[in-house]
Amino acid sequence: MSLTGIFEAAVLVPASSAEGEGYTPPGPGSFLFPPIFEAGGLGFTKAMGLVVLSAVIVLGFTVLASRKAAVVPGRLQFAGEMVYNFVRNSIARDNIGTEHFMRFVPYLFSLFMFIVVNNYYALIPFLQFPSFSRIGFIVPLALMSWLLYIGVGIWKHGAFGYLKHATVPGGVKGPILLLLIPLEFISNILVRPFTLTLRLFGNMFAGHILLVLFASGGAYLLTSGNALYGVVGVLSFGMGIAVSFLELLVLFLQAYVFTLLSAMYVGEALADEH
């Protein structure tokens, strides 16, 4: 593959939206990139490259921010401490409780940083692809959170005790338990990893489709040659900019929510019987 081919595969649009007759709206095909290079039968795609890059960014940022730690913090140290304090205080401490929360701060902090960096790829020029719009990258994260809170619950209450803690609501007696126990089991143990995964995936997927739609639709309308279409094309670009600002909020919120829910599940598993 030539150098321009690599550049196109890495930066520009995926192959499925190549120009043809008429306008092809973005769909799930917009997320399928041709591999940049192949190694041992496995293609290395742009999304994989972005995830590796995000690990480097997170590691670099935290090492640089904590390397010359001083009582009066520098700019970078201040930024690092702000993020750390946010995760430590308003996510971990408020939801897990003051007794055990410090054990979970490293996990929650790295989770938060990793998701934030991967999400904000959606708006960084030339990258412009949220790597978590490929669901495969989120499944391991959700599985880790799932195993973590179940493991914590078993550590605290014992295997049978945790099952009882998670499925039997306090203060309920009688035959209504026959209905409530399966429901609680499904909602507290089975569905949680799926909703964690799908929430992050769905938001990234929908946001990226919206941005691609307004950008490519605007470009198509502007180049169509019809003056009236051109006006709508400008409107479409305007909407694209507005959606970008909405995304700026959503990208952060989803990282926050994923971490918050992980912390909440852990806090719930650790809670004493009521």
Binding site: S90, D94, L198, R199, F201, G202, F205, Y256, V257, L261
Partner: protein
């Protein structure tokens, strides 16, 4: 006309969470207006409610493209 009926269903399914999220934030705003010092406590509860209401729609988004 081309397209998938799935997307009509997707639009319909946005109604419920839309109303729900509106109600959640309306309650949040009036709560903060009555008691501004409770904002930080209410905020995480409001966002939790928002997230749970939104999950319904997000699941539909996934299903609309999968099926």
């Amino acid at each position: 006309m081309e397209g998938s009926l799935n997307l009509v269903g997707l639009g319909l399914s946005a109604i419920g969470p839309g109303v729900g999220i509106g109600l959640i934030f309306a309650a949040f705003i009036s709560g903060v207006a009555r008691q501004p010092e409770a904002q930080s406590r209410l905020q995480s509860i409001a966002i939790l409610g928002f997230v749970l209401a939104e999950a319904l729609f997000i699941i539909t988004v996934a299903l609309a493209f999968v099926i």
